[in-house]
């Protein structure tokens, strides 16, 4: 069994509520931080822990915190990014639903470390039922003196609010999130300045993912050095993995980084193997944005080493033969899956979610979706595959924010690793459409299924 530091008590009855959470050692990190540590010392511990951003980019959290500007007399903000919208990712939802106080505790400890007296949790609007849960937990935290004025009798005060979004993947990008929190369209800002200098209301701001903030709790409790011992090398700590697709046991798993991908997919402790014992075809390991890898490359690196669930191992081989840990959205596809059709759902997603500010993303995402739709419709040509390749190439790296890259990478990797399947689809679309891919709910005729594409 791998070590668990976030979900250790998840099966405890009543852990959602304050009393049980507190009885299991909850809010200890706040006591320790406020009573025995200086804010800068907490930042140091987070640096030592090797904790990296759990939202997808994997940037070292301690370093991000140390960039925060601290001009006199200007408020600073901590904003929690709970806009979890990356397809395949539902770990933050799981954490907030089942152990909301962990996030609130992390927010208090982190806000104290950063010197923020007002903090926000920006949660995607579709998670409104979680707003209810978080609001209740926050009310409990206020009632028990963990929030509000002079927490634990110190001179530190903090107000914590939940702010719902309204349906926009792009608001997971930190500057778009800030714009949205200011009541505007979720258009990413052009950087610099970075939020650490000028973020929410033009003030220095740190934006961190839910899981990152929750991980600050064990970091402070056990100390940075101890936390750094968990995991493997620069992939310190545990990671919540959202497992979905064709597996026997979909769900959220806290893994100690360093286990093999093979163990994660096939062991009963985690995914439990492929649904109906079919063969594994491909995996999207870190949310829809990261490159899809075929079975052989996800299980072993190009050098034949076992692929591990770490930032480094998943990235081994670059984009030619590797991928990314990303947000930990682990989507498994069995041998029956059409890579082309799955890619179409991704392309449609990015088209739908592009904010429209910059031209390569605004126009390119729609163009790619149309071409994929054309291929699925049976009107694709071999040139269309090359065109798709060229379009993604011209989007990647040329946009204001990473959504352009996120839209480009799935297309690039699908063609890179499964080009023959695209060619096959173009040459014989009927066979692909009608025989192979519609039997999950088999009481419908395939033609009806296809019409809803």
């Amino acid at each position: 069994m791998g070590r668990k530091v976030l979900l250790e008590h998840i099966n405890e009855a009543g852990i959602q509520g304050y009393d049980v959470y507190r009885s299991k050692g909850g809010y200890a990190s706040v006591e320790k931080a406020l009573k025995t540590m200086a804010p800068d010392a907490i930042v140091e511990e987070v640096k030592k822990s090797g904790l990296r951003g759990r939202g997808g980019a994997g940037f070292p959290t301690g370093m991000k915190w140390s960039f925060l500007a601290k001009p006199e007399g200007v408020p600073r903000y901590l904003v929690c990014n709970a806009d979890e919208s990356e397809p395949g990712t539902f770990k933050d939802r799981y954490l907030m639903e089942h152990i909301p106080h962990l996030l609130i505790e992390g927010m208090i400890t982190s806000s104290f470390a950063l010197g923020a007296n007002t903090s926000y949790i920006y949660i995607r609007g579709e998670y409104f039922y979680l707003v209810r849960i978080l609001e209740k937990a926050i009310a409990e935290a206020y009632a028990n003196g963990w929030l509000g004025k002079n927490i634990l009798g110190t001179d530190y005060s903090l107000d914590l609010y939940v702010h719902p979004g309204a349906g926009a993947y792009i608001c997971g990008e930190e500057t778009a999130l800030i714009e949205s929190l200011e009541g505007k369209r979720g258009n990413p800002r052009i950087k610099p300045p970075f939020p650490a200098i000028a973020g929410l209301y033009g003030c220095p701001t740190v934006v961190n993912n839910v899981e990152t903030i929750a991980a600050v709790v064990p970091v402070v409790n056990m100390g940075g050095d101890e936390y750094a011992k968990i995991g493997l090398g620069r992939s310190a700590g545990t990671k919540l993995i959202s497992a979905s697709g064709h597996i026997k046991k979909p769900g959220v798993y806290e893994i100690e980084m360093g286990i093999t991908v093979e163990e994660f997919i096939y062991s009963d402790e985690y995914c439990g193997g492929i649904l109906n014992d079919k063969k594994l075809k491909a995996v999207v390991a870190g949310g829809s944005s990261v490159p899809v890898l075929p079975a052989d490359l996800i299980l072993k690196t190009a050098n034949g080493e076992p692929r591990l669930m770490t930032y480094e191992s998943l990235a081994d081989g670059g984009f030619a033969t590797g991928t990314m840990l990303g947000s930990g959205g682990f989507i498994v596809m069995d041998e029956s899956t059409s890579i082309v059709q799955n890619l179409h759902t991704f392309a449609r997603f990015y088209h739908h979610e592009s904010c429209g500010q910059c031209s390569p993303c605004r126009e390119g995402t729609g163009w790619m979706e149309k071409i994929l739709h054309k291929i699925l419709d049976g009107h694709g040509t071999l040139e269309d595959i090359d065109l798709l390749w060229d379009i993604q190439r011209k989007i990647e790296g040329n946009t204001i924010c990473p959504l352009g890259d996120a839209a480009a990478w799935p297309v690039a990797s699908a063609i890179r690793h499964f080009r023959s399947e695209f060619e096959d689809f173009v040459k014989n679309p009927t066979a692909h459409r009608e025989v192979k891919y519609y039997f999950h709910c088999n009481n419908l005729d395939t033609a009806a299924s296809y019409s809803s594409l």
């Binding site: 926009a168 369209r185 052009i190 088209h351 739908h352 979610e353 592009s354 904010c355 429209g356 500010q357 910059c358 031209s359 390569p360 605004r362 126009e363 390119g364 995402t365 729609g366 163009w367 149309k370 065109l387 190439r393 011209k394 989007i395 790296g397 040329n398 946009t399 204001i400």
Partner: protein, 327 residues
């Protein structure tokens, strides 16, 4: 010494220039000259926070600075990236830039109607120039293009959203030089459009400036609509004393008739000063103005085609000569 500290040396396409700290790569390039300056579709020096959207001015930073010589990993928008001392930039000399820019042109034209033959902006359209200079000669899409209905926003300005490239200039103009913005960008992604949402006139003293800042034919002057092609008109600098604006304009003549009035545009296609609606729409008689003389037009512009000094008529070819050339 103080002065030296406040300056940065930057090299663009092999040409070095010293510019004040905080200057953008784009403006440094413009200081060197038009051959080096990257093209722009959304940046507008008179509008704060403009730029960054269209991505036509992307350049390659091959050396970050003297202190940190590492190249920047991605192409950067030159209009929103400031220079560092010792920075080296490739614009026209970078194959990566040319490739990316051709891509941007293709993206901008993907849903553009290419209705130049019936567009009032033709001849002074930045997208036309951009496509000509940086684009490919043929299209790779046969999908139906996005279209919108034409909308009158007030009795003087028409919005033809189908042509819009979403540069945000008109929105920033409304925000920064008029009181009370009533139009903006609604919807998102490739459904985004410039709109007032509910049918509404944009009605204030400076609203006409959205016509001048629009790089394409999305916002056009209804009082000039279909009256002439711009290259058949003759631009003349003129001024009048005006309580609202500087009164410095360009009158566009056809024969004795003033067909339209615009602000004076500099070599980057930006107005020198914003003008008021009275000057733009209501003063169309020569007697309203003090004439200064012909407007200097860049000789490369199609507008310069029919007039001005040192005109050299092209050689007239005979039919067999044309055949020889084309074969």
């Amino acid at each position: 010494m103080q002065l030296e500290n406040d300056m940065a040396k930057v090299t663009i396409d092999g040409i070095q220039i010293e510019v004040p700290d905080g200057t953008t790569i784009l403006n440094a390039a413009r200081m060197i000259g038009p051959d080096v300056a990257p093209p722009t579709m959304c940046y507008y020096s008179k509008l704060k926070t403009s730029g960054g959207y269209c991505r036509t001015c992307l350049v390659e930073v091959t050396k970050g600075s003297e202190k940190d010589p590492r190249p920047m990993p991605k192409l950067v928008a030159s209009c929103r990236t400031t220079v560092m001392d010792g920075m080296e930039v490739s614009n026209n000399t970078s194959a990566k830039v040319k490739d990316a820019r051709a891509g941007v042109v293709e993206f901008l034209l993907l849903n553009h109607p290419l209705d130049c033959p019936v567009c009032d902006q033709a001849g002074e359209c930045h997208l036309q120039d951009l496509g000509y200079e940086h684009g490919n000669y043929k299209t790779r899409t046969d999908f139906e293009r996005r279209t919108f209905d034409k909308i009158d926003i007030g009795d003087k300005v028409q919005l033809h959203m189908t042509r819009c490239i979403l540069c945000y200039r008109c929105v920033k103009t409304a925000e920064q030089i008029t009181d009370g913005r009533v139009h903006g960008v609604i919807n998102r992604g490739d459904h985004a459009e410039i709109s007032t949402y509910v049918a509404q006139a944009i009605d204030n003293d400076f609203s006409g400036n959205v016509i001048d800042v629009c790089p394409v034919g999305a916002l056009t002057d209804k009082t000039f609509r279909f009256k002439s092609r711009v290259w058949f008109t003759k631009p003349v600098d003129a001024h009048r004393s005006c309580d609202t604006c500087s009164g410095k304009v360009v009158l566009w003549y056809q024969g004795e008739e003033v067909l339209r009035v615009t602000g004076r545009k500099d070599e980057w296609g930006e107005v020198e000063e914003f003008i008021c609606n009275t000057c733009r729409f209501d003063k169309k008689k020569t007697s309203d103005w003090t004439i200064e003389g012909p407007r200097k037009i860049n000789r490369h512009s199609v507008i310069a085609a029919n007039h001005y000094t040192n005109l050299v008529k092209p050689k007239e070819f005979k039919l067999n000569e044309i055949k020889q050339i084309t074969e």
